[in-house]
C-alpha cells in the first residue's frame, strides 16, 4: 500500500453544487451511512507484532517503528484514566482493528473510488469543488489512510508542506522526527500512548519562516469500516512569523458498537508564529438510548515555543457518544497568547468531559477561555479546565468564561475549573453560569410568531455566538446547522 505516493497534484474539478452540504446536515445523523467499498484491515488485536506490521505496511523507517514500539511498551504499563466525569463501558483494546484502508489504492485523485468521493460529497466535502470554491485545501482521511490532498501545487509554491502523515514520515523524515512527540510525548497519557503506538495517518503541515499560508487548510476524517479504531496524528509546525489556519471535521457511520477514536494533535508555534485550529466534531453520537457511537479520546496540545506566538483553538463538539478532550496551550514564549473557544452540545445519552489547559510559563503570557456547554436529553456535559501560572510568568493574565445551558430535566451540566497560581503578578479570573433557556426569551419569540424549535435554536445560536465568531465562515454555517440538527426533539 503506497497510495499517497502516486497521487496527482493536479486536481480536476467536475462542478457540483453545495446543496448537499445542507442536505447532509439537515436530518438527524445523515452522516450515518456506510460506504460499501472493500477495505484492507489488520486483524483485530494489539501486540508488538501488530505495531510492527502496521509500521511495515506504511513503509516506515526504522526509527519510526522503534518510536511506536516504545510507546506501545509504555502504554502497557499505564492505567486507563478514570478521573473524568464519564461513564465508560469497558473497552476491549484487543477487539479493535488498528488499521483499515480502502483496498483499491488510488493512483490519482481522479482514480479515487467514486463511491468514496461520493461519501465526501454526501458529507458536504466535495474534494474538488468545495476546495476550489472556498480556496480550502483539503486532506481527507478515510478510516486510516489519507486518500487525497488537494491544492498541493499551490501550497508547494508557497513553500508550505501539507500532506498525509505517512507521506511526511517518508519524505520529510527529519522534520517529523524533530517535532513529533515534542509537544505530546509518547507517554503523556493513556490514549496518547496508544495513539503513538498505532496511529495510522493524519496530516502534517509545515509553514516555513515568514510564510503566511495562502489558504485555509482542512482535513476531513471519517470512520467507515466496522470494528476499526481511528488513530490519527496531526502535526503542525509554524516557523518564525508564519501563519496558518487549519480546519478539521469528522463523521462516522451509524453502528451499534462503540468505535474508538484516539487522536493526537500537536502544534508548534515558533517566534511570532500563529496557528488557528478549528474543529467541527460530528462523530456518530449513538442513538437515543445511548447504543453505539464513537468514543472520542483526543489529546490536543499546542506549544507556543517562540516569543509573541499565538495558538487559538476553536471547537464545536456535537457528536460522539463520549468526548474526552482538552485542547491545551503551553505558553512558553514570552508574551505568547493562547485561546480556547468551545461549544459542546450533548443530547440523548451523550457524555462530554471537555475543556482546556493553559500553562503559563513565559512572562506576559495571556490566555482566554470561552466555553459554552449545552446539555439536553439525558446527557452529561462537563467543562474541565486548568489554568496554571508558573513562578516565572510575571504579568500573566487569564480570563475564563464558561456558561452552561440546560434543556430538559434529566441532563447534567458541570464545571470543574482548576486554577493554580504561583506568581504574585499574575491575574486569573474565572466566571461560570448555568441556566436554562429563559421563559421570557422563549415567550417573546413565540409571541412574535416564531415556532418553539426555531426560537430555541435562535437562542442557542445567540448563546454560542462568541465562539462561532471565531470559526471560519463555512464552518460557522455548518456548526450552526449541526446544532439545530442535534437539538431536534430536545424541546417540547
Amino acid at each position: 500500500m503506497n497510495e499517497s505516493e502516486n497521487m496527482t497534484r493536479d486536481v480536476a474539478a467536475p462542478v457540483r453544487d453545495n446543496a448537499e452540504v445542507e442536505a447532509a446536515l439537515n436530518r438527524r445523523y445523515e452522516a450515518g451511512f456506510v460506504t460499501d467499498i472493500e477495505s484492507t484491515s489488520l486483524p483485530p488485536g494489539l501486540s508488538e507484532d501488530i505495531v510492527r506490521q502496521l509500521s511495515a505496511i506504511k513503509q516506515e523507517p526504522e526509527w519510526m517503528t522503534e518510536w511506536r514500539l516504545a510507546a506501545y511498551r509504555h502504554w502497557l504499563t499505564m492505567p486507563e484514566p478514570d478521573w473524568a466525569k464519564l461513564d465508560i463501558a469497558p473497552i476491549d483494546y484487543q477487539a479493535v482493528s488498528y488499521y483499515s484502508a480502502p483496498k483499491a489504492g488510488p493512483k490519482s485523485l481522479d482514480e479515487v473510488d467514486p463511491k468514496l468521493l461520493e461519501t465526501y460529497e454526501k458529507l458536504g466535502v466535495p474534494l474538488h469543488e468545495r476546495a476550489r470554491l472556498a480556496g480550502v485545501a483539503v486532506d481527507a482521511v478515510f478510516d486510516s489512510v489519507s486518500v487525497g490532498t488537494t491544492f498541493r501545487k499551490e501550497l508547494a509554491e508557497a513553500g508550505v508542506i501539507f500532506c498525509s502523515m505517512s507521506e511526511a514520515i517518508r519524505e520529510h523524515g527529519d522534520l517529523v522526527r524533530q517535532y513529533l512527540g515534542s509537544v505530546v510525548p509518547t507517554g503523556d497519557n493513556y490514549f496518547a500512548a496508544l495513539n503513538s503506538a498505532v496511529f495510522s495517518d493524519g496530516s502534517f503541515v509545515f509553514i516555513p519562516k515568514g510564510v503566511r499560508c495562502p489558504m485555509e487548510l482542512s482535513t476531513y476524517f471519517r470512520i467507515n469500516a466496522i470494528n476499526t479504531g481511528q488513530f490519527e496524528r496531526t502535526l503542525i509546525v509554524a516557523e518564525d512569523d508564519a501563519y496558518v489556519s487549519y480546519l478539521e471535521g469528522c463523521t462516522a457511520p451509524m453502528r451499534d458498537e462503540n468505535q474508538l477514536h484516539a487522536a493526537v494533535v500537536e502544534l508548534v508555534a515558533l517566534e511570532r508564529a500563529q496557528i488557528k485550529y478549528s474543529t467541527v466534531q460530528n462523530w456518530y453520537p449513538g442513538d437515543e438510548n445511548g447504543v453505539g457511537g464513537i468514543y472520542n479520546f483526543v489529546t490536543k496540545r499546542g506549544d507556543c515555543r517562540g516569543a509573541d506566538s499565538k495558538i487559538s483553538w476553536t471547537q464545536v463538539e456535537t457528536g460522539s457518544a463520549i468526548t474526552w478532550k482538552y485542547p491545551s496551550c503551553v505558553l512558553r514564549g514570552d508574551r505568547s497568547v493562547g485561546e480556547f473557544y468551545s461549544v459542546a452540545l450533548t443530547h440523548h445519552r451523550q457524555q462530554a468531559d471537555t475543556g482546556t489547559k493553559m500553562i503559563h510559563i513565559g512572562k506576559g503570557t495571556k490566555s482566554k477561555i470561552v466555553a459554552k456547554g449545552i446539555s439536553a436529553g439525558r446527557s452529561s456535559n462537563s467543562y474541565r479546565g486548568l489554568v496554571k501560572i508558573e513562578k516565572g510568568a510575571d504579568g500573566a493574565r487569564n480570563y475564563t468564561q464558561c456558561d452552561s445551558l440546560l434543556i430538559g430535566k434529566k441532563c447534567g451540566a458541570h464545571t470543574f475549573p482548576y486554577m493554580e497560581v504561583k506568581n504574585p503578578n499574575a491575574i486569573v479570573e474565572h466566571e461560570a453560569t448555568t441556566s436554562k433557556i429563559s421563559d421570557d426569551q422563549l415567550f417573546y419569540c413565540l409571541s412574535r410568531g416564531i415556532g418553539e424549535e426555531d426560537a430555541v435554536s435562535m437562542i442557542v445560536d445567540g448563546f454560542c455566538k462568541q465562539v462561532f465568531r471565531e470559526l471560519p465562515m463555512e464552518f460557522a454555517v455548518e456548526a450552526k446547522k449541526l446544532l439545530e440538527v442535534s437539538l431536534e426533539g430536545a424541546v417540547g
Binding site: K391, I407, K409, A413, M419, V421, P424, E431, S435, K436
Partner: protein, 440 residues
Amino acid sequence: MSNAPSPFVRAALDAAATLPSTGIAWLDAARAENLDAFAVTGLPEGRDEAWKYTPLRALSQRGFALADRAAAVAAIVDPALYALPGVDGGRVVFVDGAFRADLSSLDADGVEWTPLSGALSTHPEPLRFALANRYRRAAADAFAHLNAALSTDGLVLRISEGVALAKPLHIVHVSSGVQGDSAWHVRVLVEIGKYASAEIVEHFVSAGAAAQLGTLVSDVVAGEGARLGLVVVQDASVATTLVRRSHVRLDERAEVTLHALELGGALVRHEVSAELVGDGARFDSRGVFALSGRQHADTQLEIRHNARNTASDALWRGIADGRSRGVFRGAIVVSEGADGTDASLSNKNLLLSGQAEIDTKPELEIYADEVKAAHGATIGQLDERSLFYLRSRGIPLVQARSLLTLAFCRAVFESLPNEALREHLGELLVAHLPTSPAAE
C-alpha cells in the same frame, strides 16, 4: 498506599490500643471498623483528587500519641486566651480534646447539652444512629475514620423547638501546649430544633506552640424553620495541624449562615458540607484565610441542593503571603428535581508573594434545569492604582497595603449581625495581615 504503614498510621494504631473499651458493644465495633478502614487506606495521597493540593507526605512521617487525658484536665488555662467580645451566652471548653467542666458554664433555657463522654456513660443509645451509622457513611475519608476510631469526647448540644437564644454560645477548643506532639479527636453533635434560633461560635486557640494534631468532626442539623448563625474562629498556633469536617443538614426553610476566619495553624483543612434537604432552605457562607510564613490552609466547601426553591450564597476570600499556600474548593451541586435553586459562589484571592501559591477550584454540578447557578473566582494582587492613590494622599505604603487588604476581605464579615464580634474579628484579621511590603 505503600505496604508498610507510615509512622502516622502506626502511631494511630498504637494509640487505639491504649483506649479502654467503652463498654458499649456497638460503639466498640464501630471504632474497630473505622480503625481498620483507616489502617487500610492510610492518609490520602497526592493522587487522591480531594487532596490534590494538600500533600500529606510530611504529616505521614510523623507519629502522634493521644493527648493525655489527665494532663489535659489538669492543665492550667487562662480564660483570657479565648475571651471574645460579644460572645457571652455560655461556654463549653475542651482542652486537648478533653471536656473541662471547671472552665465550662452553659445554662440557658431551652439548651440541653452534655459532653459526649458523659452522654455515652449514661444514655448511649440515642447516639447510636449518629455515631455508628454516620461512621459508615463517612467511608473513604481517612480523617473521619481516624476521628471515629479515636475520639473519646465531644459535645452533644440540643436547642429545643421554638427557643430563640438571645446570646451566642461559645465552644472552645484549646491546645494546652503542655503535651508536645500529641493528638486530640473531638466529635460534636448539634441539633437546632424546629423554629429555634441560635448563634454558635466555634473557637480554636493554642496556649503554647506545641505541634499538636486536632481533628474535629461535627454534625449539625437545623430543623424546619430553624435559624443558625455559625461562626468559626481558628486562631491556633502556627505549629498546629487541624482537620475539621462539618456536615450541616438543613430541613425545610431552615437558614444557616457560616462565617469562618482562618488565621493560625501550620496545616489546616476545613471541610464544610451543607445539605439542603428541605424545600426553601438557605445556606450562606462567608470566610477568609490570611496566611503567611509556611502556613497551609485548605477549605473545602460543598453545598448540595437536594430540595426545591433552596438558595445558597458563598463568599470566600484568601490571602497568601510568605511561602504559604492557600487552597479552596467550592462545589455547588444541584440534584435532579431541585428546581428553583438559586446558588452563587465567589472566591477571590490575593497572592502577595512570589513564594506563595493559591489553588482554587470552584465547581458546579447541575442536574436540574430550573436553576440559577453561578460562580466566579479570581487570583490577583492589590490594585496598583489604588495603592498609588493612597500613597499620593500621604498614606505610607505599608499602611496603604494593609488598608486595601482589609477592604478586600471586609465583605466577609459585613453580614455578621453580632457587632462586637464583628469588630473584634476585623481587628484580629488586621493583626494577621502582612505588614511587610512584599514586592516593592
